[in-house]
Symmetry: C2
Subunit: 206 residues, 2 copies
Amino acid sequence: MEKTSAPGRKTGRPLSFDRDEALEKAMLTFWESGYETTSISDLTAAMGVTAPSIYAAFGDKKRLFLEALRRYAGDPGDLENAMELAPTARDAVANMLENAARLFTGDATPRGCLLASAAATGSKAAADVRDAAAKERRIIRAIIVKRIEVDIERGPLPDATRTEALADLALAVTQGMSVLARDGADRETLLEVARASMVGWPQPKA
Amino acid sequence: MEKTSAPGRKTGRPLSFDRDEALEKAMLTFWESGYETTSISDLTAAMGVTAPSIYAAFGDKKRLFLEALRRYAGDPGDLENAMELAPTARDAVANMLENAARLFTGDATPRGCLLASAAATGSKAAADVRDAAAKERRIIRAIIVKRIEVDIERGPLPDATRTEALADLALAVTQGMSVLARDGADRETLLEVARASMVGWPQPKA
DNA sequence: CCACTTTAATAACGATTGCTATGGAAAAGA
DNA sequence: TCTTTTCCATAGCAATCGTTATTAAAGTGG
């Protein structure tokens, strides 16, 4: 009862579709319409792959979504590296927010944030999907916290900095921008929100 | 083909359920699980009313949701009055955010914001439900903008205040707090986010 | 060319979706 | 009591849901 295409297979009919390309289409569809509110037939239409092939290649709908979620979230290490590279924690978070503002209003992608859609997704059966999205957010939060702590230790930020509050604010603003983007807000509006949310950051010590 | 119970009816079997109470239960169910991801059978279970009675009393699922949405949002005039009563626009918005933080983490109600769930709801068929939620947000935004403009005119806020950015920020923080609440954040965390988002507000002139 | 392996396509599965037709029960007015 | 009006409950509608069994097709290794 082997269902997945074994990586080291030597024979058999080859896949007629690009697995990675199909996953990308699935991600965009989930991004547009959410997890539960995207049907398998929506996915077959978008991916150009029939249902049995989707099940053979990805397992089931939930696994396909979780794989799409990982693809959307990307490698946390990349975010961590980018934030370490920024001159200050403040710059790092500002960049993160501005990138989100641009991502949520991109022309080639759906509006808003896939993680935000997943969080709002409703029924009890989708609890583990919500948890997966929450987990991604927790990872991002931890990276922000860590970057702020570096700046407190190195000097630019005062010891009394409310680290967790700033991280939670950044997270909330990000997810809030997703809602505004879905409402039709343009890129400039979101960038203004991102900048306005940074005004309250503590001033550098020196 | 009269379906709704006419307000001025003189005879006939009386309703066996309290319409207002049933609507309240429906609102809580939608609040918990979103629009599309709440089924009619979820509603019948929560409301204690059979499907045909729901349809007779409320029309269809969409109309029931929209009525629940209006009940959730309340009278915009109340918000407007509350904000006019606050000594400054800053206090008014701070109160709004703190009230949201408390609402989203209430014990007797689902976590998060019903409007946020509605915005994220997915399929194209639910576009008008999304629009209805967006409309409520636009109303709130307009009230915030108006209150800030009053303070600019009366003096407490400088002429150069970025009115729309502050209003959009408040909206984004509100909807973002909803996501954090859904992730399990506690009331104190949300209140910290609310306060942190206000730190950047311009200082009073005098 | 023949086995063997794997994917593709068709068709359908049972379950659930939103919604409603039908028939009888419950109240009020005559 | 009888008629009229309205609502409740059962049962079921067509459609879609996520998923899969079945069979044909397309490759590789011998």
